[in-house]
Symmetry: C2
Subunit: 233 residues, 2 copies
């Protein structure tokens, strides 16, 4: 893949996420690239029209698209500037050292679906702007506040008061019987393999999504989705 | 990958799913293969001891492992006979034409976690025994009843009476307000891209997992997980 984490820009692979960024964050789009085998369709027409209205250059990028997307069938993409937002009012999903791109993309899409806009990443973590994450999110990333912190202490400093729920396998409180109550909440989830470190337990309420002992744990994206569903309910 | 859908056997890549099949379905295991770079560990010792107790042959399979797993770090695997179970009493998850291996693996793991044992596949669908599915399921597939039907009519014939819930974007009943009531239930989910065909609506209660209109739909594995959580609650 002709894309690197340290680049200042990334790419939306395919029409769907390209449309999403044009609708939600067109100011970040530098160029729209098209592949020589691009077929016209209503969706493509809309993208090209929108780009024209917004004065965004559209140019042939057959080789670049092939290098960024690998062997996949991608015929249009936007190159965009990466961003780091500020937290706004409302609930938060906090991902502590997530490492799987598919999981992160799915979590972004689910969070937008359940109306939680602040998505916070505690480093080290997966490259949130990798084209694979953008694609797995179905472009949802562009409609969310994406906020990065260098470590958990920096997050704590700026988010002292919010009610924190720490999803851990040894939480005594089960999600099934939890009353989230009023006020803003932060739902905090650990790394896929190692979970949350036990020393951060003191900063909130440890919660366990009750499941049978026939599995070690639920998948990260599944845990976040179930928590979001329960929160929204 | 040196594995084909039409083969009578498949493989568990790595120690974790290999241990799971030895615990749950050892009678299906033909051979345990080890890689020349296999490192000894307590888990590996357990696998090799169990294989010896069960009279399962253990043999060097360095090249076979590399061909089946591709470039991944796999040092042990079991070759096992594929299976097709019979439905038993209890609730059902029915997957109508699922096409994504990662989704199916995650759904298997989540179903085991929430205690639903009958997992039914309506063809055409992804190869449920592909090593990637086995791995994504974390070996959960071996502790479930896996049942295949050639088409939805065959499923209906043998499962006339069970209460059916059809997860569809245009369902009028939301999951959030649904009372599943008593008796056995079948939760039925469509293909990732196309959903359930509307002509099967007549066979059950269409249900919608309410989410904002900012996303098209929830991911399939996410939808199943939320429904399982609600059912178990």
């Amino acid at each position: 893949m002709n894309y690197k984490k340290e680049n200042e820009t990334s790419f939306t692979l395919g029409a769907f996420p390209t449309m999403e960024i044009l609708k939600a964050r067109s100011n970040l789009v530098r160029t729209i690239y098209t592949h020589k085998n691009l077929k016209q369709s209503a969706e493509i027409q809309n993208i090209l029209q929108l780009a024209q209205n917004l004065n965004i250059p559209v140019t042939d990028g057959t080789r670049l698209i092939e290098r960024v997307s690998g062997k996949e069938n991608v015929f249009i993409m936007a190159e965009f500037h990466k961003f780091n937002d500020k937290i706004t009012a409302g609930d938060q999903i906090v991902l502590y050292n997530p490492s799987d791109m598919g999981n992160v993309g799915t979590i972004l899409r689910t969070s937008l679906g359940f109306g939680v806009k602040n998505i916070i990443f505690i480093k080290p973590c997966v490259d949130v702007f990798n084209p694979k994450v953008i694609r797995a999110s179905m472009g949802a990333i562009f409609s969310l506040n994406i906020v990065m912190y260098e470590n958990f202490n920096e997050y704590l400093k700026e988010n002292e008061k919010i009610k924190k729920y720490l999803f851990m396998l040894d939480g005594k409180q089960t999600l099934q019987t939890l009353d989230f109550g009023k006020g803003e909440k932060a739902l905090i989830f650990g790394n896929e393999a190692s979970g949350l470190p036990s020393e951060i337990k003191q900063y909130g309420t440890p919660v366990f999504i009750e499941h049978s002992n026939k599995i070690d744990s639920l998948n990260l994206a599944i845990s976040v989705a179930i928590a979001l569903y329960q929160l929204a309910k």
